[in-house]
């Protein structure tokens, strides 16, 4: 078992220092990259998707060199990758490991599904209160409508 895990990790080159986001649903890896704005990151970013996973069937993984996320930075990925684990690597060793958590509020990254909401017409950042973390129901701070499930899309 232990061996097996190690072998899988090695499908993607190890990093010396930085963060690993593991157990991302395979289809959402690119969305996580976008939400964390890794396209603009200047150090090494490694990612893989459709890796075999005992827990999930297929999973994705992202490794970001020399980057240590704050909880509020990383928790926003919980909206697309609620199963994700954040692993902090220092000197090639796992220094810390924790599951991401759905935050209480979501700012800027999600679009309000209500076409008549002011956020879809004026230059104003979206803001939501998470009213249900399990089923992911987000109430718009402005129009007060609830965006949930399949209606959630990212800006």
């Amino acid at each position: 078992m232990e061996n097996n895990e190690t072998r899988k990790e090695l499908k993607v080159t190890a990093i010396g220092n930085g963060s690993v986001i593991d157990h991302i649903p395979a289809e959402n890896v690119f969305q996580v990259i976008r939400i964390l704005n890794l396209e603009a990151f200047s150090d090494m970013v490694l990612f893989a998707t459709n890796l075999e996973s005992q827990k999930m069937g297929k999973k994705g993984i992202i490794k970001i060199s020399n980057k240590f996320f704050r909880p509020d930075e990383i928790n926003k990925i919980a909206l697309v990758a609620p199963t994700a684990t954040l692993i902090i690597i220092r000197d090639f060793k796992v220094a810390e490991k924790k599951k991401v958590e759905v935050p209480d509020t979501v700012e800027k990254i999600v679009k309000c599904f209500n076409p008549n909401c002011i956020t879809n017409h004026e230059n104003v950042s979206t803001r939501f209160t998470v009213i249900d973390k399990g089923d992911l129901r987000l109430q718009c701070h402005y129009c007060e409508k609830v965006t949930s499930g399949k209606s959630i899309s990212f800006l």
């Binding site: 309000c112 008549n116 017409h121 004026e122 701070h141 007060e144």
Partner: protein, 302 residues
């Protein structure tokens, strides 16, 4: 409550709501008081709403305030493509309080964040119309002597009617029993029912208006709009069954009163108007007192 914007009915606590209703009663006794002579009230109507605008302007005028603004955006800088942010910032330089009606939901909350002066939401799309809610509460308290423990029926379009949603939410603070009468396709949304359940209150759902008439203290009628139906035949079937006619009121409790946010089209026939249970025109008048109370409170004069 001085300088506090009113965007959503929940921005005011139960105590603050009661304070407004109490003050509105004072203005009902003495509507003309020149206490806002030093103030400028801006009324910005990005979509027309004659009744609400005139009611606010009447309230401001009776208190001696100067009123500036526009009744539709056609002749303003909005037409030239100015953002709401810029319009609000500019007008907040010219006025002490802004009353705003806007077709986009959330516009009032946004305005309250960019303005230097308090905002009163006079309707933001299908979202909130809190001054209507307060005048409805005032009318209920006035006709029943209390807001507590009443049986209130809502009839008609309960799905899209924002006045219904806001009033239901407000009444959950007063141990109300809700009687919800609507066609299947226009039932109260589950998110609003959730608020009723959270407070452990009871609601009943009906499709037949006659069932609720003997049960309730308040019969709150709303308009069923044709454009809400994808199938015009369904509309034709439904519209007549939600029309209130005078003979239907025979079994009503003597204290029952009929409310309607107006404008009415055909959901209450004219013969009801002469029935002492009809209260909707007085309800509209109460709007002036409630808006006087809001202006005076938020401007810090009362």
């Amino acid at each position: 409550m001085k300088n506090k914007s009113l965007v959503s009915i929940n921005d005011f606590t139960r105590e603050e709501q009661i304070r407004i209703l109490d003050l509105a009663e004072e203005f009902e006794k003495k509507p003309t008081q020149k206490i806002l002579q030093d103030f400028v009230v801006a009324t910005l109507f990005f979509e027309p709403s004659t009744r609400t605008r005139l009611s606010f302007e009447s309230a401001a005028s009776r208190l001696g305030a100067k009123v500036i603004g526009f009744s539709e955006p056609g002749s303003t800088s909005v037409q030239k493509g100015e953002s709401l942010r810029d319009t609000i910032r500019t007008v907040s330089n010219y006025s002490d309080i802004i009353v705003m009606r806007h077709p986009k939901e959330g516009s009032a909350r946004f305005a309250s964040e960019v303005a230097d002066v308090p905002i009163i939401n006079a309707g933001d799309g299908a979202n909130q119309h809190p001054t209507q809610t307060l005048l409805d509460m005032f009318s209920i308290r006035k006709t029943q002597g209390t807001l507590d423990n009443l049986n209130v029926a809502f009839v008609g379009d309960l799905k899209y009617g924002r006045t219904v949603h806001s009033l239901v939410m407000a009444l959950t603070n007063y141990n109300t029993t809700f009687h919800l009468v609507s066609p299947e396709s226009l039932k109260l949304p589950s998110i609003v029912k959730m608020h009723i359940k959270e407070k452990n209150l009871t609601y009943y759902q009906y499709t037949d208006i006659l069932e609720v008439i003997p049960e309730v203290d308040i019969l709150y009628m709303t308009r069923i709009q044709k454009e809400r139906f994808s199938d015009p035949i369904e509309y034709e079937q439904v519209k007549n069954s939600y029309t209130l006619r005078n003979p239907m009121l025979e079994n009503a409790k003597p204290n029952m009163r009929i409310l309607h946010p107006l404008p009415r089209v055909n959901e209450i026939t004219i013969d009801v108007d002469e029935n002492p249970m009809a209260y909707y025109f007085t309800q509209a008048l109460n709007g002036v007192y409630v808006r006087q109370a809001l202006l005076a409170t938020i401007l810090g004069v009362k």
